[in-house]
């Protein structure tokens, strides 16, 4: 028992990789494949929660892969990474449950399960790794598996496969350039400092700063990392792929992409900048705040004019990731707490909204909101779910989004960033407008013209589709009325980020055996 408890970090990475290989061999037996994958995914969720509890009670866990100490690859589970792993395991379990009924059988059977497991492995690996080159490797796993998943076909086929390929092409080209930039940054960092372990990098760069021998191009490397993680998170100059990719992906994959994948960028910024480039933060924070504000504005303004429900949600993701980066850019403990609370609430609400939009599209047979209307009567469950999600994204009490926005603006005001907070607050009103415009267009008003567009599908959402939506909606509500545990966790994470000495100590006390 004791031995298995210390191996939790590697289990979270290795088991999904193993499963993805196993799923290919099981493709002749669809039922076994389905239920094995769901049960393993549920087990992963439990393991991630146990890991978070262990880290909360017992401090940072370091797992050496291959006993090479700081020279080899280490997996580090501190509060931030284990918290992110819990979030990603939760969303991926619910998305997997949803996709069993949503994805077309043939696609589901042959490649979907396998690629989905690789995506989970990539996410967990990115969050847990303590080695910056290893992070690049997991980014590539993430990229390739998500490309394969975007092309997967859903039942009913509302999105043409040529659209999917076009979106994937854009996504892949931009992210390949992103990974080339990341390699340049990692190689230059290695040539400058001579290590790839993040804790070791942090120690050495601090020592060089203290001695005054830090070369100026370290700042350039830090700015390259903004490009890398900004590309993953789709902040302003690199956001153009997102509104094409997220709508064309099947809904459970949109939920994964919007809920967790773009948070990988925020995680990377938090990890790399607050651990390695602490001394460059005076340069990075204004840059991040500026980019975050432009992202908020562009996302909000573009979302207002959309008629495609998933495209609207995608632009809303662009806008909301801006708020998370605003919190990161302000950079006090309270602001980081706010950014993390915002991140969790947005992940839950947005993945719930994307799952709901899948149900809506299935019901209406189209993605165009102008061809919907009066669906409140025909599918009340989707209506309530979309309303809860819209309220959470727009920041209305009693949903989780209200708490997140409230403490974010509070933190901004206490840190005396009046103008950024004013801009963010103004565009939060836009959020309110576009989310409720979508809800009113789809669910209120007259039922659509039956002769022109046909009847709504009378097919009721199945349990597999309703259950993930209901559980995420419940979470969005719970985080609104009982937010204290989440805020306490976020605050502990933020304190660890501001003072990374425990992280460094946990990694650097290892000896090479």
């Amino acid at each position: 028992m004791n031995i298995s408890m210390t191996h939790l970090p590697i289990l979270l990475v290795a088991v999904p990789i193993l499963m993805s290989a196993l799923m290919i061999f099981l493709r002749s037996n669809a039922n076994v494949q389905k239920w094995l994958n769901v049960s393993v995914s549920f087990a992963m969720m439990l393991i991630s929660i146990i890991l978070l509890l262990q880290v909360w009670n017992g401090g940072i866990q370091v797992y050496e892969v291959g006993e090479w100490g700081k020279y080899g690859i280490v997996l580090v589970a501190d509060l931030l990474s284990s918290g992110m792993v819990v979030l990603s395991s939760l969303v991926s379990f619910l998305a997997l449950l949803y996709s069993l009924d949503y994805i077309e059988g043939k696609s589901l059977n042959s490649t979907y399960h396998s690629l989905f497991n690789l995506l989970v492995a990539g996410l967990n690996g990115t969050f847990l790794t303590g080695d910056i080159f290893n992070m690049f490797v997991f980014f590539e796993i993430l990229l390739l598996s998500s490309c394969g998943l975007v092309i997967a076909n859903e039942k009913g086929g509302v999105t043409k496969s040529s659209d999917k390929m076009e979106a994937t092409f854009k996504y892949l080209i931009l992210n390949m350039i992103g990974s080339i930039v990341m390699l340049i940054a990692v190689a230059s960092l290695y040539a400058t400092v001579g290590t790839l372990n993040m804790a070791d990098l942090s120690v050495k760069i601090s020592a060089m700063t203290a001695a005054g021998t830090l070369p100026w191009h370290t700042y350039a490397i830090a700015l390259l990392f903004i490009v890398v993680f900004g590309n993953k998170a789709a902040i302003f100059p690199m956001h153009y792929w997102l509104p094409d990719v997220h709508p064309t992906a099947p809904s459970p994959i949109s939920a994964m992409l919007s809920g967790v994948m773009i948070k990988v960028g925020a995680y990377g910024i938090l990890r790399v900048f607050f651990l390695i480039f602490r001394d460059a933060l005076f340069l990075l924070q204004p840059t991040i705040i500026l980019l975050a504000l432009v992202t908020i504005i562009i996302g909000a303004v573009s979302a207002v004019g959309q008629n495609d429900v998933k495209r609207l949600l995608a632009y809303s993701s662009v806008s909301q990731i801006g708020y998370i980066f605003l919190g990161i850019g302000i950079g006090s403990v309270y602001a980081l707490t706010a950014a993390l609370v915002y991140l969790v609430n947005h992940a839950i609400a947005k993945s719930m909204l994307f799952l709901t939009s899948g149900g809506i599209i299935h019901h209406a047979g189209t993605r165009d909101m102008r061809q919907m209307g009066g669906m409140n009567k025909t599918t009340p469950i989707m209506s309530v779910a979309f309303l809860i999600g819209a309220m959470s994204i727009a920041g209305l009490p009693p949903m989780g989004g209200f708490i997140a926005k409230f403490i974010l603006f509070d933190a901004g005001l206490r840190a005396e960033y009046y103008i950024p907070v004013a801009i963010a607050l103004f565009f939060a009103v836009f959020t309110l407008f576009y989310m409720f415009r979508a809800w009113l267009l789809m669910f209120w008003g007259e039922t659509r013209d039956v002769e022109e567009y046909g009847e709504y599908s009378s097919h009721k959402p199945s349990l597999m589709i309703a259950l993930p939506i209901v559980s995420l909606a419940a979470l969005a509500f719970i985080f609104g009325v009982y937010a204290e545990p989440l805020i306490a966790l976020a605050q502990a994470i933020a304190e660890q980020l501001i003072d990374p000495q425990p992280y460094i100590d946990a990694v650097m006390t290892r000896v090479v055996r």
Binding site: G69, Y71, F133, V137, E140, L143, L144, C147, G148, S161, S162, D163, M165, E166, A167, T168, F169, K170, L172, I173, M176, I177, S179, I180, L183, I184, A187, S188, Y190, A191, G194, L196, D244, T248, V511, V512, R513
Partner: protein, 140 residues
């Protein structure tokens, strides 16, 4: 001198790659990405060549140990045939870690390029063109 040539090669490769990914033809864009990734691979390898520094190879217990600072070579006159080394002779290394890194990077870029070539072929089947400006159905 050597380093100057290496730097020049890397920068020219970066230039060619950047030029190619700005072309309209999809295949040229993909070739450009390949060239760029090879330029990065060379950059990584060049990070392991030291002129006069010490190379981080762990020997013995791993706490410091013996480190050398020279390039690993055959020396026929003294009877050194790489990698067989007689006891007591002083051998020279380059940093081995970057070569492990570059191997990983090459494999990853192989996989990504294979995927994107298949994707480009399917797009050609659907759209009937490899002109990247025709790929704008989603902007409508």
């Amino acid at each position: 001198m050597n380093n100057f040539l290496l730097t020049l090669t890397i920068s020219i490769l970066f230039g060619i790659g950047t030029f190619l990914i700005l072309r309209r033809d999809m295949i040229k864009v993909i070739i450009g990405l390949s060239v760029l990734s090879h330029a990065v691979n060379l950059l990584i390898v060049s990070a392991g060549v030291f002129e006069n520094g010490k190379v981080p190879i762990i020997t013995g217990s791993g706490h410091g140990g013996e480190i050398t600072g020279t390039i690993y070579n055959d020396n026929l006159a003294e009877g050194i045939f790489a990698p067989l080394v007689s006891a007591g002779s002083h051998v020279e290394f380059v940093d081995p870690l970057v070569q492990a890194l570059v191997l990983t990077a090459i494999v990853i870029s192989l996989a990504t390029t294979a995927f994107i070539l298949i994707l480009a072929y399917r797009i050609y089947e659907e759209y009937g063109t490899t002109d990247i400006r025709e790929l704008r159905r989603l902007w409508g």
